[in-house]
């Protein structure tokens, strides 16, 4: 593998990791507050659909993003209502959201556009264009640094940079602010927060809302950045991979960056080398493409050692008698 190929793969890694990173951070906020969310997939899908639909109809990529966030927030609201207010089972609620999004996107897509569930292909203005960072052209001819800066670091859409900026921002919110302290406490021992005179419900809804916004960005990036429009089931399990990355990252923002980059890298390798020839035998393309999912299983099977989830995760808060 030569240097240019490596840069291409890494470049592709960053792009493929972006939706995972948004979704992973989304899950992080929700789960750190004690609300488990396996509905990341559904929220991403709904956001991808609505953002693509609105972008196609208005021609405005930013209206598309807003619509995506709106769709995701709506589903977050349903999850919050079920999990926080009505103290329902969070897994069931998440599964329901996934089904709802999967069915509704195709149904509405067919009804609105008649393209078999797809949205029309987005053209200029309807999707995100790569941003060329300053001096990219000037630095490009330099050896090593040139390609790294001009191809790997420069030339992504604004959402990619936003996703990466969300990592330090999340860490700052979680560990440096009052809200973050309360959010982490609510996921560990909501009774401690309640007896301190702070609303458990309020903090959890706020966390779920942040999760909705970030999931909306993940979906919008899928449809408006990575692809040029919405396709049926286009999330392809990314919501679940983001969940796996979240566990891999032990519910920490910086680890989340590393975990999602790893999954992005595996996907990029799968795309670049459909089959890998080892001389004696060739690894079939199906295997390479399945690699991210296989790694997910291995990780979840406890390969990474003990990852301790937030103690109060998955449990609705009921005042004890």
């Amino acid at each position: 593998m030569d240097f240019a190929t490596l840069i291409q793969i890494l470049d592709s890694t960053v792009r493929l990791a972006t939706p995972l990173l948004f979704a992973c951070l989304a899950g992080l906020f929700s789960e750190r507050a004690g609300v488990f969310d396996i509905g990341l997939e559904g929220k991403m899908l709904a956001a991808a659909f609505l953002s693509a639909a609105v972008a196609a109809l208005t021609g405005s990529v930013w209206l598309g993003v807003l619509a995506g966030i709106f769709a995701s927030l709506l589903l977050s609201g349903i999850h919050g209502l079920a999990a926080i207010t009505f103290r329902g089972n969070q897994l069931i609620s998440g599964v329901a959201i996934n089904f709802l999004a999967s069915g509704l996107t195709v149904l509405l897509g067919q009804k609105w556009f008649g393209l078999g569930g797809r949205t029309p292909s987005l053209t200029d203005g309807g999707r995100f264009e790569p941003i060329t960072l300053p001096f990219a052209d000037a630095i490009a001819p330099l050896p090593i640094i040139g390609p790294i800066y001009a191809e790997l670091i420069s030339g992504h859409s604004i959402l990619v940079y936003l996703a990466i900026a969300c990592v330090p921002a999340s860490a700052w919110v979680l560990y440096r602010t009052r809200f973050g302290l309360r959010l982490r406490a609510v996921g560990e021992n909501p009774a401690a927060v309640d007896t301190a005179g702070v609303s458990v419900t309020g903090i959890r809804y706020a966390a779920v809302a942040i999760c909705g916004v970030l999931c909306g960005l993940a979906g919008a990036y899928l449809a408006l950045g990575l692809a040029a429009g919405f396709g049926k089931e286009m999330t392809a399990g990314r919501g679940f991979i983001a969940l796996a990355a979240l566990i891999f990252a032990k519910w920490r923002p910086w680890y989340a960056l590393g975990a999602t980059m790893l999954f992005g890298f595996l996907e990029a390798v799968g795309n670049r080398f459909p089959s890998i020839d080892l001389g004696l035998f060739a690894i079939p393309s199906q295997f390479v493409q399945a690699l991210p999912y296989i790694i997910t299983v291995v990780i979840l099977a406890g390969f990474i050692g003990k990852a301790r989830p937030p103690r109060a995760g998955g449990e609705p808060y009921v005042k004890e008698r």
């Binding site: 440096r176 009052r178 302290l181 406490a185 560990e188 007896t195 005179g197 702070v198």
Partner: protein, 519 residues
Amino acid sequence: MQTSGRQATAAPTAAPLAIELRGISKAFGPVQANKDISIEVAKGSIHGIIGENGAGKSTLMSILYGFYKADAGEIYISGNLTPIPDSQSAIRAGIGMVFQHFKLVQNFTVLENVILGAEGGAMLRGAMAKARETLTNLAREYELDIDPDAVVEDLSVGHQQRLEILKALYRQADILILDEPTGVLTPAEADQLFRILNGLKDQGKTVILITHKLREIMEITDTVSVMRRGQMTATIKTADTSPEELAELMVGRKVLLSVDKRPATPGDMVLEVENLRVRDEAGVERLKGVSLTIRAGEILGIAGVAGNGQSELLEVLGGIARGTGTVRLNGQEIALTAAADGQTRRARGIAHVPEDRQHLGLIMDFTAWENVAFGYHHAPEYQKSALFMDNDAIRADAASKMERYDVRPPIPTLAAKNFSGGNQQKIVVAREMDRNPNLLLVGQPTRGVDIGAIEFIHKQIIALRDAGKAVLLVSVELDEIMSLSDRIAVMFDGEIMGERDPATTDERELGLLMAGVVK
């Protein structure tokens, strides 16, 4: 009420009141937890509230802390009518509460736990610095030393409780409520807590101590209020009363506080345990080579702070957990590994009243008669044929056992969860003791059990001993161990620290053993 006359004269005359409750009532569905309760607590005093489990003590205090809303009644703080709709208002009114189960975030530091909910700004940096300074001052003022940067899960239970008190003081509480604070402490830690509480009192703070332990009330409180079945039955100056009188007020009848028993007449060796070792799921060794013996007609009491291996000892002997070492029953070795379960143990005549009756002793949603049969459901008298059980026979047997073991109400078709804690325990005791086991394993026999039932269960354990059976008693209640045991072994950190004769030892000595200080 017989004491209503005393109530009027008992209240200190001129002392200003920290708290006055008037006519507080609270119902949970059909259950009247608090009925028209009025109480006055003098400023700068330690006021005890005593009552059996389910008497409504905790409900009353939760109302005062804004956790529940009273159906009726008024709360006056320092003479002013103060509605307390939520915990925030209680904190503002200067009330701090230390719950029985601590409300701490286990993976936070001491400092983070202190400021949670009282950060004083959107950013943490400033709040942390300020809290650190305040904490240092408070620690000095009240002798509540604690490392602000320690993570809570690394702290001892006693220190976690200190942290809860500090949390309240940091919020400038003038009134401190402690709910059953000594249940998890060693005697030495309890003494230290009482010193702290006296220190708080000297600084003019008001302390309300909720407990079911008569000894604590007598030792530290100035005034005591007694609750029974949701009502306040008396408020008396502690100096004017006695444990016997308080027990009678709590239960509503005369209670024998000391256990009446003849000296033991130990017979043949029943249980021999040698070098018993147990590892938990995480691979941590919980029993580190325990050896002990029990003879027929003898009660061996295991004292210790909860979590020092007593539970594991019971579980291995009861066949629930696995271990290594040698255990002989009547000279014959019993399996500790693959072949071990409760069923084979029962076949050998080992009965087990588990520590956690709601999870291990009973199935709460099942009826009393089903629960009476569990573990013995293969017994021939319960079978109608090879395929079918004789439910009528089980019901009849259950009815007879419930009658003899004084389970109230004696209705076999009632679900286990509908009995009070004491009566649930009597169901388990009836099932395990009535088959005349060679060895009875009994853990926390009176945890969450009211005084009347404690008396009954203690009598049953003594009766089994007098019938020439061996009993292994595990309890965190030192009083219980002292009064029932013929020999006392103290466990600390998975080891037996030593054995003592209850006639010649005292709480202080046992307390030092329990803390692992002397061997």
